[in-house]
Symmetry: D2
Subunit: 465 residues, 4 copies
């Protein structure tokens, strides 16, 4: 609760109404970014682009809009954060007319060596039109002296560092790429004869496409009219996907490694119950993120599961510009307590994570105000001790509650009767591993461990571009 | 699932920033109507009105808007359905400049003798500006030859029939009224020294107001600077509230008769489990309406509760104008299946009601497609055999699945392994009554029984105004 | 320069695309009101209405809008001023569902006894939805106990006083009415077999309709499928049209009494030259209103006509909300001087009227700044000494420069070398009359003479409703 | 009548509220482009940009917008035509972050060798974000290996051909540049201590700035905090400004070569009267472009000047998307005839030019329909025989009426009694030259003569970028 993903990507090659299917795919990836969405289609002759701020369903729902995106190939993107005046120019996919033709690129992740690259490119004559790190990839491809597009891309990627799952569309190809560690997800599917690339399997399900396999770390898959080709563009190394996709980001019905994300989260809740045997009357999830873990905790502990906190479904995009007098009502706009299930009860609240602790504090207060005798706050993952720089919007060290306080302090700050986290080993167990491999960790888990797989010094020095 | 309420009302008397508090109250009543919202405030000298189509949180969230609503008194309304070109004129509260001064009126319910009254009023010179039945009340008050406002209102109400909970604001008074049967809800609360009227207790909770009591059937409460006065404006008779407020409409955290609505719904689910002992592996709610009953069913039956169907939270107002090719994807835009919890399982789906059966059919198909071995569809209320005319948007007889088919046919139509409803007696038990009193039923329950408390022949003949 | 008309009206009966023709008619009457426009059409079964703030051409230019106005009959209105929050409700035609059916009414003029009538109507139960004086007519018609619509209208008009040219559309009739004095204009025309009513002949020209005759003062023309019928609804009396229609309001190409308005204005300029023989180098119109009179002055005096002041055509609706620093640049946004025609010249500026004198002052300064040696300011009408209450937006006595200052003072205030007005007799001569008939003046000319044809005490006491 | 300019530019250096003054300057240049407007300001630290489609006065009129443009330096642009989806990206000034800092560029004119340059730039890695030829200048500057900005600009300009008046703003300088022939205008002025650059002197007048001199052909003026510096960046050659600025484009009150544009146009009309002595009753301008020449014609010939055709001032941006039935009314939406001045008269219509002849045809028909006995159509410039490629939007050869027909045919096509043009020699005379110098023509006049000063083969082959 409190972390934010920075994007979802989708691409499809050679099917009627490619843009309509992309719209659906992006809609199913909406949880990965709500600030903006874009689609670029290719109709065999020209590229067409529509980019909008706001939700897919609010902006790509009319025939009028979809008629602007003709063709049997398309690539799309949902974006989390945008800032500043020129918002819309940062909405992806980014597009450039290169000498070889059009080049559209959708990116999920974050580059970590942008500062130096940008400076070099500008000094030698590149004009940047966005403040997105993704544009560096385009500029590098445009500048590459290689002759073939694939080689230009490889050339460009040889200069960049960071986490990236990319979908690129040219006038001949749809290309999917994962960074050497495979930090952000990217899956391959097929609808009839059309290949599909997407951040999660839920985007395959919504259009009735079949899941084939994950794109591998360091792999480039190239889809053309002749079919699919795969190239390993980086030396072989073990995959190390971001563990937060399972804990928090991915949609519960998406399948990762053969299991639904919902199942991993229930496992985390069960593991939490195993490690922390609390005597209580009800298990209550912090909605909606804590629900699967709370069900797991309830089933393992035998303590009844109750929807003790109700989420207001109409608050999604509401109260964007609240008056001070509304703001002071705080979390009540989003949540309310179902008093009958709480009053005079010993309550275990379950959430998937704690970042700053501010929401936890409000929820605990709300539950006590409703008459709870005890409020135990269980988190179905380890304490977040380090910020992310690979595509998750985490606050700095100074704002991470667990980086600055021990459990006793946290308990006091959020006002709970007790606070308990899942252990790192328990987390790996819930994911199906016996133990964490300290030399080659199975996951990118630096938020818990500080073990950053990619150098982040440039970004620590110059900030995120 | 599939019924729609037609409004929520809120009023507050003598407090700073009355319109801000009304905004919050309406936000918490948003589930009662999402099509439009309006607030009328009174600043001691003038009345001020803002009416908008869409959600409260999207339209009353800026200081700019709230600055247009000064004063320490306000009345507000959220509206469900609007039709035709002049939508916004039908958004309430309706307002008229009467000879005695301004008169604002917010109405939840539906009148049943509008046809004749409208005709009479127009023939003698009234000009209607809306197509809302609520305007009849205003016109009758304007025409009344009584001298005092209260008497004018009583005079007007003596001519109308139907279900109504009204909040009226004049330059001196805030008035709450319930019809003789008390069909629609209306509660009284207090925030500091300011009285509050609202459709549900959740609207008191959000502004930190204390619940005092329900307005009684046939009661008029009159709030002035001198305090609160109560008048019984209709002969004493037992209350007979709409049973659907508990089954479906009211927010789970609202309190009715001392219990949270969530508890009643869990009771319905438990009662359903008592009446229908099905052998299965998982209990899965149809989101979000079926969740409390599913938890009740699970706890009573011991069959594990799982979130087997995931609701997409971004679909709220999305895809309003879908292309045909999107529409054919149907329920998938709103729901997706968590396959791991469903595959190879015997599933009990729980929902609170079935109206037409179209959504049930899609959900059942979706669950079977995900690999369920059996799908048993349990409804935590009796079959809906008759339409409503007191403020609920039900379809006509010909579209009500249970009015036209027996259980075997329904099972076939929706494609389930089995379908089972809660009995009428079980429903009353879940509400805390030993049995239904057939002479003086404790609830307005004609949708199940055909026992209409108020004559509906005028409306059957002429249609709803 | 500086007066503002309060409306134009148009109606057409029994022709294809009646709303399209009404749009064109209103477009040609746009000079009579730019703040809002509305059209009500009747398709043989239902009435349809579209009302918009802003210009006709900006709001009624799409097939989408015009498709909302089906039928072979329509009435339309352009409106000058609107105030307050509920602007759009005041845009005409007003419409009411009366017992006899729909009733649409478009009004040009101003009623003078609204205060008392409104009070009476509200006290007996009428609910007003607008602040427009036109609604009084609707309410009186709705209340009339006469049986036939025509009689109801006559009944209603028997209670009102003021200036009015009305077009009323019911489900059977299109009705045109002029008040007893015929203060505001209304002409009758025919396009093929369809009758047309409009404020000016220019609205006939644009749709290719033939001018038949003016509606007479005190006349009601009733157009039905059987043809046209005329009733004198007031006792015979001489017509007394507003003289400002010729001096300022009507479009130069409109024909009144057999001559184009342009010709009357040229005559005024010629008469001004006859009365004031100034020695000068150039005659320059204050654009655009002064051009015809300046041409007349130039031709009569032999002094060359020059476009010495240029009007910026893009300023129409611009700078609606100017910053202070823009506002201080004043008239320069609208006008600029063509220096070559002004420098070292003795200039005669010609305008049609002076109201407050503020614009005159700015223009004179601008011309001197451009190097003029002398600036003589000629006004082609007499001094405005009294406000209007019959449909022209004039300021109060205290703001009328000529009501408070003699010519010497005015000359000083506006900074001119000299200022000269046309005499009242000269004005009548230019209109084709030998002299003003003091007992039965040929025009409503109280702005010059104080001779108000209709009692204005109610309006002086209570203000304009 | 019928030609369209492609832009106006304005820049100001070191004055309070630079953006407000730029807004005013652009407003006065609005006749040079109505489709879009943009301003870039610099506040000593950062660059700020606002770009809008539509009129200056509609889009830059609020404090809110102007507050987004802080600083004492600004450059602005009004744009004529935009096409395609991404309209707004083509609105100028274009801006790029170069290695030396921000670089804003506003361009009036048209480049003629864009095709080859674009291809070269893209092949070596430049990414174009617009379809504007102006971006080529930015890309060339970005790529230049010179060290100093001035040298980079000179380097870039050495590669381009065509007509251009540029205003460039960097973090240190405001720079004005005219192409070697000085085809498009650019003037230098001063307001207090602040230098101003603008397309025309009317933009100096509106802000009260003093005219200093024209920027010369091939000159670069560099304004810094130290003052103004001038560099001749091309070899000396005689100036050759576009003759259409005087005939048609520039505002009548702008001063060129010591005379107002209005005077040149009157001269053209006088010259036309000298060359064509027609016996007639009235001289009528085609509004508004024909008015000055018509006055000149009238004064020279002694035939009275009359406003026989009235322009509807509300048609500016109206009826953008007319229904077919409106479109067939054609020119009547814009113009109407003042019959009294036309009927039974022999009419001389005066316009400044004829391009396709379609409007002339409609106007002539309208005048005959109003009862004219004869309609002589006089054009105060020579026949347009060749298209322009230096910033004027002319149609191709096949659509230019005079390129395809002799005078007899033209007379027949437009339906006039006679048609007469001004001679080329007469045109030069009206401009103050004794005769056209055939070796070094004083004007760019290829539209009349086919004598193109700059090679246009690239543009003829590849089209305008």
């Amino acid at each position: 609760m409190g972390l934010k993903e920075e994007c979802g990507v989708f691409g499809i090659f050679d099917i009627d109404e490619a843009a309509v299917l992309t719209t659906l795919g992006l809609h199913s990836l909406q949880h990965r970014g709500q600030e903006g969405a874009g689609i670029v289609s290719y109709d065999g002759t020209s590229f067409h682009a529509v980019k909008k701020e706001g939700l897919v369903g609010d902006n790509f729902n009319s025939a009028e809009t979809l008629d602007k995106l003709p063709g049997r190939r398309a690539v799309g993107h949902v974006r989390y954060s945008t800032t500043g005046d020129t918002k819309i120019t940062n909405v992806q996919p980014l597009f450039a007319n290169l000498s070889a033709g059009g080049f559209a690129c959708a990116h999920n992740g974050n580059l970590t060596n942008t500062h130096k690259l940008t400076k070099q490119l500008v000094q030698t004559g590149s004009i940047f039109q966005t403040t997105s790190d993704t544009e560096i990839i385009l500029q590098l491809v445009a500048r590459s002296r290689k002759r073939k597009t694939i080689d230009k891309i490889k050339d460009a990627l040889s200069h960049i560092q960071g986490a990236y799952s990319l979908i690129i569309m040219t006038n001949k190809k749809l290309i999917g790429i994962k960074d050497p560690f495979g930090i952000r997800p990217l899956v391959l599917g097929k609808k009839n004869k059309a290949y599909v690339l997407a951040s999660e399997t839920c985007a395959l399900d919504i259009i009735g496409a079949k899941y084939i396999r994950d794109v591998e770390n360091g792999e480039m898959v190239i889809i053309t009219e002749s079919g699919l080709e795969s190239i390993k563009i980086f030396p072989n190394s073990p995959e190390r996907p971001c563990i937060f996709e399972r804990i928090y980001f991915s949609r519960p019905d998406s399948i990762i490694d053969g299991n639904s994300v919902y199942t991993y989260r229930k496992n985390l809740g069960e593991q939490l119950a195993i490690e922390n045997n609390i005597d209580a009357d009800v298990v209550v999830p912090v909605p909606d993120s804590g629900a699967p873990a709370a069900i797991g905790y309830s089933q393992k502990s035998g303590i009844p599961f109750e929807l003790g906190i109700i989420r207001n479904h109409y608050v999604g995009r509401t109260f964007i510009e609240p008056s001070q007098s509304i703001r002071q009502f705080g979390v009540k706009l989003k949540h309310s307590v179902n008093k009958s299930s709480i009053k005079n009860k010993r309550v275990i609240l379950i959430d998937d994570s704690i970042v700053r602790g501010t929401t936890a504090n409000k929820v605990v207060k709300m539950v006590f105000d409703a008459g709870a005798k005890e409020v135990h706050f269980g988190i179905s993952s380890p304490p977040i001790l380090h910020p992310d720089f690979y595509g998750i919007d985490t606050p700095q060290y100074s704002e991470l509650i667990a980086a600055n306080h021990n459990i006793e302090e946290i308990t006091k700050i959020i006002g709970a009767t007790s606070v308990f986290f899942l252990s790192l080993e328990g987390t790996y167990k819930a994911m199906g591993h016996e133990t964490r491999n300290p030399k080659n960790p199975q996951f990118t888990d630096h938020c818990f461990t500080g073990d950053y797989p990619i150098d982040v010094r440039d970004i620590l020095k110059h900030g995120n571009s």
